[in-house]
Amino acid sequence: MHNVLIIDDSDINLTLIKALVLKLGDCSPTLFDHPVAALEWCRSNVPDLVIVDYMMPEMDGLKFISAFRALHGRNEIPVLMITANDQKDIRYDALLGGANDFLTKPIDRIEFSARARNMLSLRTGQKYLADRAEHLSALVEERTAEIREREKELIFRISRAAEFRDPETGAHIQRMAHYSQIIALGLDLSIEQQRLILEAAPMHDVGKIGIPDYILLKPGKLTPEEFEVMKGHAKIGHELLKDSRSEIMKAGAEVAISHHEKYDGTGYPYALKGHQIPLFGRIVAVADVFDALTSERPYKRAWPLEDACKFLEDGRGKHFDPMCVEAFLAGWEHVLDIRQRFRDEEAPQV
């Protein structure tokens, strides 16, 4: 059903045009004898065709069309302007001012029907294209979400590959990633940035793939030489992930290279200091260390939560960015929820 808006200050013209519109079939006319009231109606209603007289009190047809076109989403809606036979100049102004076509008075039914039908066909085409564009947009969004999900799964599996060579667990990856997100939330980062760090943080230790087993799996303390080799995992991870077109991979590369830097400049691989260290690196440093301390490993018991918190607090401005520690502790209730959700003995669920 087409909604046809008719505006004319003459009752007889309103009645005539309404009757002609009804004769077109599949049309519902809406009548106004005052253009200002019609414009107000147009703010919350979208007609499929506007038929407007030229000469009316307070606001003539040209001004109405101009105001109507200025409303959001009304730029393409067909407008027929009614003018007298002797108003050629007005017709030119109407066409230049946004009318799609015009009707001359006295109104001729054949001419009216042909022009109105043309305008309604135009509108039907517009709606079809708009619906199609919306459908395609939804389809692209759906496909993008699917690709994103696959990318997330791939990242998780890559991260697990590294972890399989390490005593740490899949649950550790999930916990530290979610802790990182809590810190990002506490720092008022955007929703997109919070999601990005959640997805990128699991790749922090992916470079361990390149560390020999005799070092990575050594039960005892590493020698200084072995530790130097172990430190190489940050650069290896960065090499693996850098130069990707994926935002997540790029963020993962940044996290991999910077999560062992320390706020006071005593970390590795580049001994960066303070805000020289990328923000994601500073965030992941807190999340990773906290989870490592509070998790049980074959070679160590889990630290009590209070002791781990004290370690973070003592490390403010030394190992850790004070703002990141503060954001982590401010989200303590969420931290406890995450610990419950991702336990070491269970297969993690995202």
Partner: protein, 112 residues
């Protein structure tokens, strides 16, 4: 000055695609509105406002044209154009002529 109005129903119906129903509806409305349209012309003249008189003359021009009264519509157009040029006071006779024409057509249509 237009001569006696003769109803050319055939030409009106031709414009309306032969639709008697719409024709009857328009006749009813014209007859119902004739007093109001005459009064609007009188008010416009009395106001001295050329823009208002121009608009009312334009409306009457359209009404007369709708009933195929080309001569009456031409008289209304003269009033409209003169009002567009700012002339009001000396249009009393022409306005009275238009009022008379509206009543004449209403009478013909009512007799119809």
């Amino acid at each position: 000055m237009a001569g006696i109005f003769v109803l050319d129903k055939a030409s009106i119906l031709d414009r309306l695609g032969g639709d008697e129903e719409i024709f009857a509806m328009m006749v009813d409305l014209f007859v119902q509105d004739v007093d109001r349209n005459c009064a609007a012309l009188a008010t416009a003249l009395a106001s001295g406002d050329a823009a208002v008189l121009r608009r009312e003359a334009h409306t009457v021009k359209g009404l007369l044209a709708t009933f195929s009264d080309e001569a009456g519509a031409a008289d209304a157009r003269v009033v409209e154009l003169r009002a567009r040029d700012g002339l009001v006071a000396d249009q009393a006779a022409a306005v009275a002529g238009l009022q008379g024409r509206l009543r004449e057509i209403a009478a013909v249509l009512s007799a119809g």
